[in-house]
Symmetry: C2
Subunit: 524 residues, 2 copies
């Protein structure tokens, strides 16, 4: 019965911490709602501050012993909190716009992240050796590069608005998802590969596994999404059951993530594409109330998970054990954080500007181009580092939840500093920056032009329309034709394929309506 | 990095088991849907069989070493699976009917459970000492009484239909909720109190703590439900946000359960009444899509939790470690299971019949009485033992997940046997029994009379109506008046109080409409 007592005590402890977290989450929602009109706050910063305040209270009541009720737990983050956020991102994304900007998005998300990773890894190696920061292996430097290449899309998206600045939103959002996946894939690859003797062969293998991961992860997500659409379409066709349909959708979405994790694929990519496929097919096979329910359930779960993460990061930041080393050498700690922040900024600038210019070459209308103010906004919006960076840093430098060597301790505290600083300072300023750089009339106009742009007709026509309307003359026509025609051809083929093959099997918007329409026509 | 490796291995193991469970849950939903038309199966039995089948496969692939992927975990059950089921029960219950039958329900649920508890405890003591089953303390016998007094409402409700047999459904359902709470409260009280020298004083203290628990738990649930209603009404009145409202409701419902657990109250009762209050007030302060979403979210969560429990019980049943002792003395094990099943049946009969007769005394119409066929159905429907019994048995006899003494091992295997046998056999037969005992016309007629009965007008009028319609003559009028008048008076006062005080503060159905109507009237 002795063991039973221990189990009871630990159960009691977990009841306490769950109660505290649930209560704090409720408080976050209420205060976040009250502060909604405030230009300086957003919900992430709000949760972060409530977490910090709770940490201070806990630290004072426990007389400086402990500021957190749970250890930061990677498993909690990667198994329970991240999947709903990413799935919801895929589920709610405006698919047409996402795929229209697909080339730009994947360039920013994949190529850009790799550029940033290289610059940060190299820069950290140079700076840290100059500062004598402690012993790090090559693997550690590369891991730092991957950790600080992961932008925090959650916080950024609370500031940008899908209706006001659609192009920016689409790029920053899409980049965020691809970037998360890229960073995690890079990080896992670094931990797995033996990088002690880096040569051409190892580098090629690394690249190969990187791309095969990308493709298999995406395919897995698409397949599970289609399977779910097929099951709902065939099984519940005659006898609908909202609760069962919703349950099946939630379970299969989560299953896609877990299978990907189990096969060492990128669960983030898998669940993101699963979300896209489910919102394209499965959603339209369900009852009306199941549609409403799923839409809000996924948004709610994602919202709770996001709030939880920021609350948790805020609470965990004050854990004194981690700061013990940092307080011994505060200079080094501050230098490390500053160096990392600088490298993050440089690494991001190094791909946003060249890739934007490259992307502009493919655009037919000057309106669709990413101008220097938008480039600045994209650069700025992606400077925030968040929970993914935290989780990866813990994985690399504090695996058992405790920081062993001074070097590791400094990396953990620097990560917390960068995350807190960037979330609060950049988060505070982003809304103002956007309002300054992209005043209402510019963003409004661009929004309108984007909204009325017939995405599926030939872009030439719309270009002519807009060109006439704004007095623009088409330039670089031959190069544009060369670069944009393939995209349009692919889109045309996809639409035909979707209508004639996919929708009859997997369902989807308009399929039922078309079918009814046709049969009525035949009768007539 | 050694510890890190261990953490990675355990994380990988939990990824595997989560993946397996999520996949099995999806399979359960699909197969359950396919078998819906089948008269012999229901979703509980289906999940139980899929769990058993998976257990067999795991046992064979691991060459007889292990049949389960997780240990049965009380924490999982009481902290994560039970709250959504009970909250949903409160949220979806037909409140008018529930409170109309409140006296009968609480009699069956509280007094009945105590009668059953006494009979089973006493019977087990006699039988087990006769069979020489091993050493048990008085506390163990009382715990067995509490464990086997907990009926499994989940499985029963899948068989009964709220529309077809409303009175039965209401009583069995209500009894199930109050009974769960009573058993858990009894069980906790037994574990806490020193029962070695039982005297009048201890017994009175026991009774006192029992009732104060009941009342404080109920009040806590009501208060948190009202708080949530107030927050949603005041905060989101101007700026609605479906996702935040849904999130707040889920979090505060869960919070009520956790606070109750933390204060050693009955979380089941608290979250049940929180659900009732939320469906009475909070629901009507929300947006239309939030209403649809919450209704289906809670039903879906409850559905997944139920399926999970049966799947898990099925999988856990084959764990060979537990059966080692049982296989040494199979006779004793079978005798114990049979004795328990017999005592469950006797204990239930001992309160269903007398309490039904007592309840009939308060009924004005013969139609509202519980006739002998309905008594038989109530008795039968409550014979099923399920996850609550399992969880309590593990808590008492296998605290650290392992069975130490032969006596404890036999109790665990007997509990599993009783749960499996009653779920499968009684579950199989209940639908048929109901169809035999309460043929379509009888139950249909009773349903109709119940549905058209104006629940809020004086019962005398409706009694006269029905009396005339069916040629019944009112009997025992004076006794009925004496017994039913207080209920009606209370109901009248409550309605007035609700309309004039509660709804203006906390919102609720009709409040907004009435308000608009009045202001339009004033304008006119």
């Amino acid at each position: 019965m002795g063991l039973g007592g221990v189990a009871a005590v630990s159960a009691q402890a977990s009841v306490e911490s769950i109660t505290l977290f649930v209560a704090l989450l409720s408080v976050c929602i209420v205060i976040g709602h009250l502060l909604k009109e405030n230009r300086w706050f957003n919900e992430s910063i709000n949760a972060l501050f409530i977490g910090l305040a709770t940490g201070i209270v806990l630290l004072l009541t426990s007389k400086g012993v402990n500021s957190r009720v749970m250890e930061f737990n990677e498993e909690l983050f990667f198994i329970y909190l991240l999947p709903p956020i990413i799935f919801n991102a895929g589920f709610q994304v405006k698919k047409k716009r996402f795929f229209k900007n697909f080339a730009t998005i994947s360039m920013f998300g994949a190529v850009g992240t790799v550029i940033s990773f290289c610059i940060i890894s190299f820069g950290v190696k140079v700076v840290f050796e100059a500062l004598d920061m402690g012993y790090f292996e090559l693997q550690d430097y590369l891991a730092i590069g991957a950790i600080f290449s992961a932008t925090d899309s959650v916080c950024t998206l609370q500031v940008l608005d899908q209706e006001e600045t659609p192009l920016l939103y689409s790029i920053v959002f899409g980049e965020g998802v691809v970037n998360d996946a890229t960073s995690v894939v890079l990080f896992n690859a670094i931990q797995k590969f033996d990088l002690s003797n880096l040569n051409m062969e190892v580098a090629m293998k690394f690249l190969g596994s990187f791309f095969s991961l990308f493709i298999t992860s995406t395919l897995l997500g698409v397949m599970i999404g289609l399977l779910c659409a097929y099951i709902v379409k065939e099984l519940y066709n005659q006898r609908h059951s909202t609760d069962q349909e919703v349950a099946l959708m939630i379970l299969m979405a989560y299953l896609s993530y877990m299978i990907a994790q189990l096969c060492n694929l990128s669960g983030i990519l898998t669940v993101f594409f699963c979300g896209i496929v489910m919102s394209h097919y499965t959603l339209y096979n369900m009852t009306a109330s199941a549609k409403v329910t799923t839409k809000h359930v996924f948004a709610t779960m994602s919202f709770i998970a996001e709030t939880f993460i920021f609350l948790y990061v805020g609470m965990d930041a004050l854990d004194i054990e981690k700061w013990a080393f940092a307080s011994e050498s505060p200079g080094k700690s501050i230098a490390a954080s500053a160096a990392l922040l600088g490298l993050v900024a440089v690494g991001r600038a190094a791909f946003v500007i060249p890739l934007s210019l490259l992307s502009n070459l493919t655009k037919m209308s000057k309106l669709d181009e990413i101008d220097y103010r938008q480039q600045l906004t994209i650069w700025w919006a992606g400077l925030i580092r968040g929970a993914v960076s935290m989780a990866l840093a813990y994985n690399q430098f504090a695996k058992s939840g405790h920081t062993k060597t001074p070097g590791n301790a400094i990396m953990i505290t620097s990560t917390i500093t960068v995350v807190l600083f960037s979330t609060v300072v950049f988060g505070f300023l982003t809304k103002h920056l956007i309002n300054t750089l992209l005043p209402e009339d510019v963003s409004g106009c661009s929004s309108q032009s984007m909204a009325t742009l017939p995405l599926l007709t030939s872009s030439l026509e719309s270009e002519a329309e807009h060109g006439n309307g704004r007095g623009e003359v088409p330039r670089r026509l031959s190069l544009q034709m060369l670069l944009t025609t393939p995209t349009h051809v692919i889109h045309q083929y996809w639409r035909r394929f979707d209508n004639s093959v996919m929708r009859p099997i997997f369902g989807g918007r308009g399929f039922v309506v078309e079918f009814v329409g046709r049969s009525m026509h035949e009768r007539g």
